[in-house]
Structure formats: C-alpha cells, structure tokens
C-alpha cells in the first residue's frame, strides 16, 4: 500500500549509525528530541500510574520487588494484571501468563515498526524494547511507516516517570492513601482515549475502532484479561485478509 518504497536492501543493513538518506527527514537527534517533547505529557500520566502501581503492589510484593518490576518489566497494564493474580492468591505461573496476555499486543505492534528499523537483529531487538502504547501511536507516520527515533525519544520521557512514580509509591505509599479513592485507575482509560481520538481523525480508522471496542466489550465477561485486546488485534488482520 505505501507508494513505491525503495527496497530496504539498498541500505547497508548492519549500519544503524549511518544516516538514513532515503528518508528525507530531520536529523536523528532532532527527532529524538521531538519524541521526548511529545512524550512528556504521557510521562506525567505514567508518573501517576507508576505511583498507583507502587502503592498497590508494595503490601504484597514488598518495596524492592515492586521497584525492580517497574524497572525491568516496564509494562504498566501487564504489571497491574500480574499483581491482580498474585493478590487473588494465584501462583507465579498464572501471574506471568496474565501479564503476557496483556503484553501480547506488542507482537503486532513490533511487527508494525519492523520495516522502519535499520539495524542488525540485536539492534532491532533492543529498539523493540522501547515499544509502549503511547510512543508507538505517536511515532506512527501512516502508511505502515514509523519514526523510530521519535519513538525512542517518547519512551525516554516515560520510562523514568514510570520507574520514579513506582519508587515514590512503593516507599511513601502510606502518605498517599488508596489510589482508587483518588481516582487514579481512571488515568489509563483517559490516557488511551486521548491516543484513540487522535487516530479517529482518519475516516478509515473509525469502523475499525468500533469493531475493536465491541469485541472487547463482548469478550470481557467471557475470557481472561488481555484476550479481548488480542482478539481485537487479530480481527484487524482477518478483515485485512478479506479486503482485496
């Protein structure tokens, strides 16, 4: 669908540092900075979400494991899902599976950014770690192209906020009180709604959004958390298979 892209084989694949002359865009550093700026509001939201994760996780996991989890897992909804399983008395395997189900959406998101990555396999795997919902959506340039430097910058604005918020929540949770009473659990939906509305400016996005939302609503009472999101993503591939 993207109009006549120059084949990727024209670019030396193992030279990520080499300037990509095929894309006539601003220099890499400027795009990282632009991503950083665009990511700041999402970083502020991540700070509050990290705070509530820290407060909620500490009584069960202890402050050390709570902080380490945000530092090395860095996936908000998956961490909340795993915490919910542990809180309900579930074992580690069930908690990991719950978290993985919520993270599985990063597989199609990773496939989406793959053609835009100009590095060796290890470099690509490392850049893939920067995928989070907001950065991925903000770095989407349409037609299947993603601005990877912009994505990295945006995540750079959110990672310290998520970890820092968790640290404060885990260490000073007693001063904050119950995150639910503060309405902090309404931040996730508001956060995603902001990203969704930006997508809906494209007319072709609207029926797909309705489909995704409807699938989630129908499946939520029937399937474990995370499954409705993956089925919504899978439905996109199925409908794309039927078109043309």
């Amino acid at each position: 669908m993207p109009p006549a892209r120059v084949p990727a084989t024209c670019v030396a694949p193992a030279q990520p540092a080499e300037p990509d002359t095929l894309r006539t865009q601003a220099p890499a550093r400027d795009r990282v900075l632009a991503g950083l700026r665009a990511g700041l509001p999402y970083g502020a939201a991540s700070l509050l979400l990290g705070l509530s994760f820290g407060v909620l996780a500490r009584p069960l996991m202890g402050p050390a494991a709570t902080i380490v989890m945000s530092t090395i897992v860095f996936a908000g909804s998956a961490q909340f899902a795993a915490l919910a399983v542990l809180s309900a008395g579930g074992g580690a395997a069930a908690a990991i599976i719950a978290g993985m189900l919520l993270n599985l959406r990063f597989v199609p998101m990773g496939i989406a950014i793959a053609p835009s990555l100009r590095a060796g396999p290890l470099g690509r795997a490392l850049r893939g770690q920067a995928i989070v919902d907001a950065s991925w959506a903000l770095a989407n340039r349409g037609g299947g192209r993603f601005d990877i430097e912009f994505l990295l910058g945006s995540t750079l604005a959110q990672y310290p906020a998520w970890v820092g918020g968790t640290v404060v929540g885990a260490l000073a949770g007693g001063l904050i009180g119950n995150p639910r009473a503060l309405g902090l659990d309404a931040i996730f939906p508001a956060f995603f709604l902001g990203l969704l509305v930006a997508e809906l400016r494209r007319a072709e996005a609207r029926p797909v959004a309705v489909m995704g939302g409807a699938i989630a609503l129908v499946l939520m009472p029937l399937t474990p958390a995370g499954v409705p999101i993956i089925v919504a993503a899978a439905a996109v591939f199925v409908t794309a298979g039927f078109r043309r």
């Binding site: 669908m1 892209r5 990727a8 084989t9 694949p13 509001p41 939201a45 509050l48 069960l60 996991m61 989890m69 897992v73 996936a75 909804s77 998956a78 542990l86 580690a92 908690a95 990991i96 978290g99 993985m100 993270n103 597989v107 199609p108 998101m109 990773g110 950014i113 100009r118 850049r127 893939g128 770690q129 959506a137 349409g142 037609g143 503060l182 309405g183 902090l184 309404a186 931040i187 939906p189 508001a190 956060f191 995603f192 709604l193 509305v197 494209r202 072709e204 797909v208 489909m211 995704g212 939302g213 609503l217 939520m220 474990p224 958390a225 993503a233 996109v236 591939f237 409908t239 794309a240």
Partner: protein, 103 residues
C-alpha cells in the same frame, strides 16, 4: 516471596521476547501484503479495545460499571476541547474520585 520474584523475572524475560519478536523476525524489509494492509488499522482497534478494557475491567472475567465511566466522560470532553493531556488525565481522576466519594 519467591513467587513474587519468579513473577518479576519471568515477566521481564517474556516481555523482552514479546517486544523483540516483530523487530527481529520482520525487521528492515517490507511486510508481506496482508500484514502491510492490516498494520495501518491496528492502532485504532487496539486503542479502542484498551479504552474499553481499562474502563470496564474488573478482577477476572467481568464487566464492571463504576465511577471510571464518569472519569472517561470528563476525559472525552477535555479531549474534544483540546485541553492538554495532563489536565485531561487529572480531571478524569478527580471526577472519578469525586463520584466515589459521594457514591
């Protein structure tokens, strides 16, 4: 205590593999036709599903109608008025907290 650390390390590895899969397997070349057609439509479907699950999600398999809906409506208004995201998110939380306090 051990279950917690197994969860943390297991989810760390799983997340790294999940995030690295697409970039490693499909990296640096154009996607096959079906994937290329689907990818531009992926964001709206995923984000709509996330809005729904984060608004109506409960513990386990459940649809829950609670004060978050009020927060989401406030957020929708703020986004429509093009208020900054930080303001939108804080107002959504405040509205939800208020509804819980009086409900």
């Amino acid at each position: 205590m051990t279950a917690v650390w197994i969860t943390v390390s297991g989810l760390c590895v799983a997340t790294a593999v999940i995030k690295g899969f697409g970039p490693v397997v499909f990296g640096g070349r154009d996607l096959p036709g079906l994937l290329a057609r689907a990818i531009p439509l992926l964001a709206p479907a995923l984000l709509a599903a996330l809005v729904v699950t984060e608004t109506f999600g409960g513990t386990g398999r459940a649809l829950v109608l609670d004060a978050r809906v009020g927060g989401l409506i406030v957020a929708g208004f703020g986004i429509w008025r093009r208020w900054p995201l930080v303001v939108v998110v804080l107002l959504a939380a405040a509205a939800t907290a208020l509804l819980r306090a009086i409900g």
